[in-house]
Amino acid sequence: MIKPRSWLPTPVLSILLLLVWLLLVRSVAFGQIVLGSALAVAIPLATYRFWDAEPRIGRPLKLLRFALRVLKDIVIANFEVAYLISNPWRKLRPHFIEYPLMLEERFTITLLASTISLTPGTVSANLRMDGKSLLIHALDVDDEEALIEQIRKRYEQPLKEIYEC
């Protein structure tokens, strides 16, 4: 939880809210900016109790590269899953995998879990209460170790570098 130390507990969130508001109304008129700013101040004040400490982005450029890679993976993942689903002769080998987490912050774990859910044949199913491991359900796996290694290299390492260094 963030301490309500000021009227602007989460500056980055406020800026994001203002931006999203302006995009939603598709205008940068003065009135909209005022209204958006009011919302950007009011919403964090009303919800800061639910937020963890605001994450600090160590390397914004890396974050951008990570986002692009995830986007690319999502497209590929979709083709793979579509193929798996629509091929009736293929025997699927579903798999539950307990993935040991390296990340420690809850925000980054959330990001990783979401990424896993969006990419190749995997859905994150359960995070252990102690935050040490993540249960993943995979649609079709032949090598469990390889999948863990791949997630670690492609997603977890970059996330750790971006947020937790």
Binding site: R26, D52, N78, I85, L92, L118, L135
Partner: protein, 128 residues
């Protein structure tokens, strides 16, 4: 020029439709709950994505100004889809839904504190 934009947009719409259909097909014919979950989280995301790109392209071609609201829709979709999938999977585990026999991996059991039968210390270190 206009017909190129139109053709591209229609192609994208068809691609989107195909992906949505396959996603729904997966929901209908895969064997167990956890596998069915894969359809809507992925195939559907890309299906909607294609349709939004088509819409963006079409209105860009016709009104001349690029529209970014579709990107916002995609963004919200990417934020919400994994969360709902995660919650559904977790519920499935909680209810101990049956999975098909070929499922490999350690048997999944929720520990008592994860189903609320034992209180847990707050996991948050530092900022409590």
């Amino acid at each position: 020029m206009a017909w190129i934009v139109e053709a591209l947009a229609s192609l994208l719409l068809i691609a989107g439709g195909v992906f949505l259909f396959i996603g729904s097909l997966g929901m209908a014919h895969l064997k167990d709950f956890y596998m069915r979950l894969h359809g809507p989280t992925k195939a559907t995301t890309l299906g909607i994505g294609f349709m939004l790109v088509a819409s963006m392209l079409y209105f860009w071609g016709y009104e001349g100004s690029p529209d970014i609201q579709e990107i916002l829709i995609t963004l919200f979709l990417f934020i919400t889809a994994p969360v709902s999938a995660h919650l559904l999977a977790k519920t499935g585990l909680h209810l101990q839904l049956r999975r098909i026999d070929v499922t490999e991996g350690k048997p999944v059991e929720l520990r008592p504190e994860e189903v609320g039968e034992r209180p847990v210390p707050h996991p948050d270190k530092g900022h409590g």
